[in-house]
Amino acid sequence: MSAALEVRLQHALPGFDLDAALSLGREIGVLFGPSGAGKSLMLRLIAGLMRPREGEVRLNGRILSGTAWVPPQERRIGYVFQHHALFPHMSVLENVVYGARGLPREKALAEARRLIQEFRLEGLEARRPKSISGGQKQRVAFARALIAKPELLLLDEPFSALDGPTRVHMRDCLARLMRSLGIPVLLVTHDLAEARSLAERMFVLIGGRVLQHGRPEEIVQEPASEAVRELTRAG
């Protein structure tokens, strides 16, 4: 089976050079690396929020970047941002419904209510984002990203804005959900414990290069280089 997501990207920013490739099936991939490694840049390039200098992004056989260019609006990619990026002028329900662009209003409302229930957000429909907790905000962001049934889910440090206990709890809840989606999920983190507990496939990104990829346990037990060993040393 060929991979659902195939990415090969080259991009240059002042003082930084990205040259990385990865391929991912319908599984959870974790892009793991220190800050400044180019993780978020890679997500933005895959999403089409930035144009790569060179390379190709292919999702379920469709070329998104490369010989063709699909604008980000038409990529069918769900994106959960680091700080959730909920719209403060909309209620929880409106935020989720906003994700269902193109769906008839009635259908969008029904689907949003279903997701709100699935994410255990009942009772919060009319609340504004500033009056709900961090964990709830994150669930709203997930519901909003999933309502349009994306073919790929990108998560930029989705748990970093949460505090310790909430973080572990949310991670476990969402891991189950993400596995049940049946689409490729690519998550960015610099937290080793998070990477190990979520990843079915892990990509170690350092200095704009994928230095190693594989199952997280393999990487931790048999790091291919000193840099990877250093980064994956437990504790």
Binding site: A47, L49, P72, Q73, E74, R75, I77, G78, Y79, F81, Q82, H83, A85, F87, P88, H89, Y98, G99, R101, G102, R144, A145, A148
Partner: protein, 218 residues
């Protein structure tokens, strides 16, 4: 005492502000989104009427809109009408002078919207225009409103460019600032006092309102 100058000022300033609000909002969106070489030069050019003496701005407008001007010449040939020394000229003068204030406030407000909000809306499938309408405007409206109020305040106080372009014709182009000058020059102090008091009160009210909505510009 005549109510003419007050009514004329309100008519001229409201019209000028409506024009400035629409054009300024478009310009602000364009500038906030655009990345091009020479952007800062374009921004400076747009802001020029803010620092130029109004008489200089007015002088340029006369050159541009006069019967032999770049724009005014063609208009005169086609319609036989010229804007100089009409109340419409006062609208043009006020609009040009208050335009930079509107652009500046609106651009600051638009640029202060978290880029993640815009990216998020983009990834949910919305075009730039839709994102501007549904996300950016609702989040930036306070700064935009402050800009509109300041533009109105500037428009109603316009003197120099108006004098150059519209003259000071009693009953036709004598907006409040011009009427104050004429009253004082001719020694009609009671009229001058009254107009000055009205203009001051109006400006204080508008400035207070604008400051209420904008913490960043003022």
């Amino acid at each position: 005492m005549s109510w003419g100058p007050l009514l004329l000022s309100l008519k001229v300033s409201l019209l000028a502000t409506a024009l400035v609000a629409a054009a300024g909002l478009l310009a602000a969106f364009a500038l906030a989104n655009a990345r091009f070489r020479g952007k800062s030069l374009v921004e400076s050019a747009l802001l020029l009427p803010m620092v130029l003496p109004p008489t200089v701005t007015g002088y340029y407008l006369v050159l541009l809109l006069g019967r032999h001007g770049l724009l005014g010449g063609s208009l005169y040939r086609w319609t036989g009408w010229n804007v100089l020394f009409t109340w419409q000229a006062a609208v043009v003068a006020s609009a040009v002078v208050s335009f930079p204030i509107m652009v500046r406030s609106a651009q600051t407000a638009i640029e202060s919207v978290d880029p993640e909000m815009v990216d998020s809306s983009t990834m949910l499938g919305y075009t730039r225009a839709e994102t501007a309408l549904y996300v950016v405007l609702p989040l930036a409206w306070q700064g935009i409103l402050a800009g509109i109020m300041l533009a109105f305040t500037r428009a109603i106080g316009e003197f120099g460019a108006t004098l150059m372009l519209a003259g000071n014709i009693p009953g036709r182009t004598d907006t409040m600032p011009l009427a104050i000058y004429a009253s004082a020059a001719s020694g009609d102090w009671s009229q001058a006092h009254l107009l000055v008091a009205m203009l001051t009160a109006l400006s204080v009210v508008l400035l207070t309102a604008a400051r209420h909505y904008s913490r960043s510009v003022l």
